[in-house]
Symmetry: none
Subunit: 402 residues, 4 copies
């Protein structure tokens, strides 16, 4: 088999998606998600100008070799743009492999370790009471796990809250919005939210919370400690994580499980975190972490330390990534949970999907390959429009983590 063509499709049904399509001499093609929210065009150029010319003529069966060809062969290794491009290539090659063997990808990854994939929903409250109610809505829908975020009194922009009552979408058209945050008020308030949730729904529901990198290590340690009585499923991205040792402080002070890594890009970002047992869940998504080939290795490594997967799965990634994640999560033994936000309907005008939600779990069909497709014709109707993630500032104006 030979790769004869590859092209990048950028479309914007509601939000921007970048998709790599690799075509072979056997007529089989594969899709890979190359979306890097707010930096889409850098990945497009990376693929079109530097990777696609090299892909042509390669044998798509050699996923291991091709992965290293683009990882080591780039010389300037790693980072979000590079690893998203590599992930898209890798995902598309797995799609091709599945299709060429006429099996769903999960069957190439070890088969089913479970029947369906536990996901968590989102409840974003504009007040404590609203947060409790929104969580209730998700629970009623059948979700077994809900990530709860809440507006903080006196704080302009707590993470995850849409102030106009619409569903939360962090990226906004054009230039970045500035969002202002106060860690102190947040730390005081959040434990009350989870006290309220536990009072309302008892201990059976799995509750998650995302700090979104905004705490310093000692602040995160305090929060993890203060949240202990409410037994979170996990506390996510408690610190920004560039300094891996920053997580030691959290671990020293609490037994709240920790998830991190939605902005990490390689397994090397996790070596310290895993071997020192500083985390419990890996957030790095397939689409930003080099694809199935690389995450398979990281999950293998993590399995020796009983660290599980808990992939990022917001709508900033396309159905291609979601399908790939579902194959992965079905097969790997040390799966934990998968984030899930339903795409807007318009997304499914462009992407046809093979998964469905029921009873708080996602299920996937046995269609060959990844099982999703992209209608290029329809994609053209939704052209790229610049959109940016917000920029965060502290109350005194300091540029901080959003």
């Amino acid at each position: 088999m030979k790769i004869t063509e590859a092209r990048v499709i950028v479309c914007s049904p509601g939000r921007n998606f970048v998709t790599l399509k690799i075509v072979t001499d056997q007529g089989i093609y594969g899709l890979g998600d190359a979306t890097l929210n707010g930096r889409e065009k850098a990945v497009v150029a990376y693929l079109e100008e530097h990777c696609i010319p090299a892909l042509i003529g390669m044998n798509p069966e050699n996923t291991e070799d091709i992965w290293h060809y683009f990882y080591r062969g780039a010389y300037w290794k790693g980072g979000p743009v590079t690893m998203t491009a590599i992930a898209a290539i890798d995902m598309a090659l797995w799609d091709i492999r599945g299709k060429s063997l006429n099996v769903p990808v999960y069957k190439l990854l070890g088969g089913k370790s479970r029947d369906r994939v536990l996901v968590y929903a989102h409840a974003n409250g504009v007040s404590l009471q609203d947060a409790v109610e929104k969580a209730g809505v998700e629970i009623k829908k059948g979700f077994k796990a809900v990530r709860v975020q809440c507006a903080v009194p006196g704080v302009s922009h707590a993470y995850g809250i849409a102030r106009d009552g619409r569903s939360y979408e962090p990226a906004s058209k054009g230039l970045p919005e500035t969002q202002v945050f106060d860690t102190g008020k947040y730390l005081d308030f959040i434990p009350e939210v989870f006290a309220g949730l536990r009072a309302a729904y008892g201990t059976d529901i799995n509750l998650l919370h995302d700090v979104h990198h905004r705490c310093t290590p000692i602040e995160a340690a305090r929060l993890a400690k203060d949240l202990e009585p409410f037994h979170l499923f996990w506390l996510e991205d408690p610190v920004s994580g560039e300094l891996k040792e920053g997580l030691r402080l959290i671990r020293k002070h609490s037994v709240t499980p920790i998830a991190i890594g939605e902005v990490f890009n390689t397994g090397f970002d996790f070596t310290t975190l895993i071997t020192e047992q500083l985390i419990d869940y890996i957030r790095m998504p397939l689409a930003h972490g080099g694809g199935i080939t690389h995450l398979q290795k990281l999950a293998a490594f993590a399995s020796f330390y009983q660290v599980r997967t808990g992939f990022h799965g917001a709508t900033d990634l396309s159905p291609v990534n979601l399908a790939a994640s579902l194959h992965f999560c079905l097969a790997v033994n040390n799966f934990g949970i998968l984030e899930y936000m339903p795409h807007q309907d318009v997304v499914h005008e462009v992407f046809s999907i093979n998964y469905s939600l029921s009873d708080g779990h996602l299920q996937i069909s046995d269609a060959p390959g990844l099982g999703v497709d992209l209608d290029e014709e329809r994609a053209r109707k939704y052209p790229y429009a610049m959109a940016s993630l917000p920029v965060g500032r502290r109350e005194d104006g300091t540029l901080w983590y959003w």
Copy 2:
């Protein structure tokens, strides 16, 4: 002061260079080097599509805030494409600061800590004898330090050797060349080369060698130990470096000084290496490491551990980066050495420069700002042409570090 315009200039006088030009409402403009060898177009898109729109209207005086705006504000942090884009912005802003205050940039970085900047030259031999002779040529030119690479008998492609007798340029037009390497033969041979060099030139000349990431930790430890009698100034990139702890093994077995980091992108890549005292020199160049603002912080950090700068300075970076490096190296106390490869003459048709070589040192004029300029008219005569760094394989075909 306000930024009114910014544009990216891609030109290829002999090789590809990407330059960011930021223009202000006061007529002053600044230049930043945005060249990422073999991945140029990804940085161009990153800047043009995602950064420049945000730059317009900013006050260029606020370099600290702007740095964090693009670093933290990108959300997906770090990596070569991102950090090269940020470096170019930062460098251009320092150029503007210098010009607007009418002083050379080094005067804004603490003034002169020395009068001139020690550099090292390159000697790449096709045989042991040729390596010794080539080193002699550089010594005769007045260089006090020479990096020596040598073809290894029985090995197709030792790093750094041009087989056609011309000056060594790793990138080739079009797609990557494949280069084949054997670590075993290399490890046996290299100590002989340095024995030969010491026999020929005694102990006064500073000798450097670049492993170029090709060894495993234990191989690197062996090489560092075997080279001890020849007292290298440094051994460079002995391992690939994604696993920071990999350097512990080298350090445990030898006192050969270690330089690393030409493919690193942030100071966070160095925290373990510096605090555990695993390295002696920082190779991360301004142009790939977030610019002057970030390297100033890393050099400050390193100074507490007597770790010095030894920036990458091959011709894959433009005269803009070289000038910025010279200002930096003139000012910072814990400077060690700077790599230097002269650009081809055609480069200076496009870029006018403010530095000159004599007696193995570079000197820089007192022109305001960085002191280099780019002739956009002439740049247009040398359009971009795709070029790629090689891809490395071991003798059995394994994709390895080039």
Copy 3:
């Protein structure tokens, strides 16, 4: 540019201040604060007898080289007298740099990272109720952060309390006063004070407390733990700090943020504290820590560990240090908070200032250099008069930390 003259001005408008004035051949002069409360004359002699003769003829632009000239060149390195002298030199040179380039110093340090500088006020109560009331007074004035100290029943001299109802000034004329303290009563009482404060003012106000070195590590750990429910902004100088590892015990037992270092003098005092993540805020002031040049390096180092600045800023330092601190705190990203005690009016007869307080923040004008000046004529009206900080004893008479 050349330094043609330098002189030390000692004056005592209400309290002793030592100011270094460095004059250049271009008529520009710079001021540096050289005040070391209770040891003023040692710094005067250090500067006059040993540094000033060497300064004459130097180029004031070379701040990095001059810093090391006095730091390494002294041979006997570090300590409060030496580092205060070096700080004064460095501060004056930055003042000169700013004036010669006609910009405020913060524009040389990276521009504005924020518009104004958050400060904390002081409330020193003679009783629990008085402490709560005094804090209320500061909150009403608009302060967002208040350090609260309180007399302890049965203890002669809790730190920070003026028993005569006047504003607190630790130094007294002539020889040191002896102050008697009991750690046990203090540990029992202080959590009640903060319970009272939180009951009165809720969670929004930032509360700080200064242990002033008086606890042993295990006592400090108990206090930090007992104060957790009241969520201090920081607990300051919980132990005396000569033994850096002493802070491990505190960190092991609590998530109360820790600030330390107002009696430290170099960044080397912080390497263990920062890399082991034992502290959250750096208290070392510019005037005692080698000036802007050295603190810029330490802040850079600290930034990799999310440790922030929280400089000492009592009235024992002159307006020159305060102005320099404001420039620094405006520019550095990892600024946390600045201590602020207003100088008596008589101080401003001698020193003209460029900063003002509003809404719990300090703002600074865009005057070139540091922006403060000293009227030497008026300074002469307030001659030096020996004053000393107290000496602390435990109840059994043991000489202890004051």
Copy 4:
């Protein structure tokens, strides 16, 4: 007993000495050495302006309390100026104690642990051959231990070498001399010197060498390793030592014994070094390390780790310090060796001494107290004249450790 008077005597018989004289109401007085080479006047002011007023009226018997009064009571703790002042006070109080009890000080420190004190002499060669010869001269004089320094071919100023053939005195009149050094040439050459020494004098003589802070940790590790075959008694100040962890690297690579600390000022500088077993000898002299009271504690601590004393004893300290050191070294069990440089004859016009050299050891009389005296009349004939230690630069001009 009460202190009725105290004064500082500065004299310069050949070189500057600062002596503190404390007088009691019983007519007994004590002497303390307060000399801080090149920073004398700062200590004078520290004592005269800030300490002496407080000393008057104190009971000199309470050495422990008085020590803490000045150490903790200064608030701004430690550093060379402060600790030299405290050392002088402490030494003078021990002199008074001895005199008032009519016993030599060593009898108050535990009596004799040995009969005489092993010292090491200095041999400073202008060439390898000269170094060997100079060492031979000292051996012939009966010295059992010799520190050997040697000029390095191609290096302007190796440490410890007088180029005019006179005895070595580092301080020069007036401003600091600049001395230029090259670490690379030094590292290549020094092992040859010790090879030559061992070849000439066999293994019985104890050989020492002083790196004088000029190496980075990895350079020091190399030197310590390269010197292993020559079995040094110690390698001194291999690194500058502000970063204590810097010594780990040396220890990892060699079994050459290490001495450090002639520029340290408190026992806290040694906690890491001792508990991690990074050193073998303590160089901090009584006169700069807080006196007998503090060094007694440090020696006690060190004894638990089999670390010994090896005090700095160059002629920059007066006979008062030398006498105090001899009492100390006679009494303490974990004594190692003492540095000894004979003072010029003119010194003994001012200071009368109680010690004498024979057979490579110093012996001390049983005169009460320290046993040395100062003739104030004669001291006046030798007024203070500013003198400075050199400032070191690397060959490229970088300000470095002298």
